[in-house]
Amino acid sequence: MTEIMQHVVNAISLGSLFALFSLGIALIFGVARIINFALGEFLTFAGYTIFVTVGFMWLPIFVVIAAILVVVILALVMERIAFRPLREAPATTLLIVSFSLSNLLTNILLTTAGGRAKTVDFGSQFVTPISIGSVRMTLLDLVTIGVTVTLILALSLVLRYTKIGIQLRAAAEDFGMAKLLGVRANVVVASAFAISGVLAAVAGIILTVRIATLTPSFGNQAVIVAFIATVIGGLGSLTGAALGGFFIGVLTIFLEVVLPSEFQSFRDSFVFGLILVVLLIRPNGFIPTPTGERA
């Protein structure tokens, strides 16, 4: 029983992190039909901001705020300079732009910070093992689950009860009609990028504490997981994206437990293989949307 609880905690913790990644992708896709592969660099920039500021900030909370601010500003600048002028462009053009931005930002980090891995000593007290009953975990596991649940709840409340939230949901359903009612496209899309930036920054901070090592390609794996999670969740559905993230997290831990040791190094191949099976059974994901079907 203890062992099962242990795996459940691990699965929920990893799933929470993946859900944070995927919500950022899903939100921008839902509103602006952009699959933003540069989201990986949002995570990386959060990590490097921690690396740069951790030495001179008084309190860790200031480091966290700085990381979130940098990523939100990066997200807003990206929307304003790269995506806004191309809003009417075909989806393939937007996809290529997002790949180009991802490469550009990685190379900016390579030339300014160098390609060598950086060790980040931030929040190491969170990765010290603790025991609750006989279940062993890290404080970071609990923080990850708590922060994810809080952010998902906060996002749900914003989307349900605020003016901008209702406009975001309307724009995700029929952007053309929303504009005809006076919804300002620039404000809605910029808001989606800003919220996506907050989610990605928090995910980046948690990942930095977890891994404690940074390279310019730090967020690459995360963005692939995020993209797959949004697809199996149902492209265009926020609930689906969160579900997809949790599903991949749970699947990863499940395979870690059941696979014989000689197959452990191929764990991710099994994860992606099973995802293929899921997509064969449900090609439009867990929660299909008209948007996703069109895409």
């Binding site: 209702i166 949901r169 009609m177 009612l181 919804v183 300002r184």
Partner: protein
Amino acid sequence: MLEVKNLQVSYGSIKAVRNVSFKCSAGEAVAIVGPNGAGKSSTVNAIAGALKSSSVQGNIKINGKSLDGVSAEQRAGAGISLVPEGHRIFKGLSVRENLSLGATSRRDRADIEIDMNRMMERFPILGRLADRPAGTLSGGEQQQLAMARALMARPKILLLDEPSLGLAPLIVNEVFAVLQELRDENIAIVLVEQMALRAMDFADHTFLLHHGVVETTADDASGKELIAAYFKQEVGNSK
């Protein structure tokens, strides 16, 4: 109020609307009738700003001000509301949220709440279903929601694209009764309709579009007869 001059709409090499001109003053109703593909929807969509600016040529003015380069959201702010073909309500949002979106370009918060209650009195079914997802409403209820949503903007010009399409005759009567009330409230109405005779009875000016060109107007008895005869023939051919 609304002045459309030499309007042209093209989709690539296809010209959907050619040299359409008309005026619609406050409290007036203009009906555009014609067969499918005649360019009726393109005309109202061009006025609302729903089309790419590169597809639209000609001059559209409100109270003498040109709408050249004015975005769809700015046009909503200027008092143009569109009830589009097929309602295009937000199905995942509640009836109340749909109505609140209609008032996006307004700043008078207190009055918005009053108008929301008024809409629910004018369309009682919306009051009863206010917290339901709009996607669960019937076709007639969705049409009423689309009209109420457009009215939440307190429009000066209301554009309606086939508001009677797919509705039961009794509901069509209700729709036209509401349109008459709106006219009495001094709103300019541009109505696209397939029910030509009904539209002619309702409107001050009616014109027949065919292949994007104004074939005739119903401003005199002979024009009316021509349109009526045209539609009889159309109905006959389609049987």
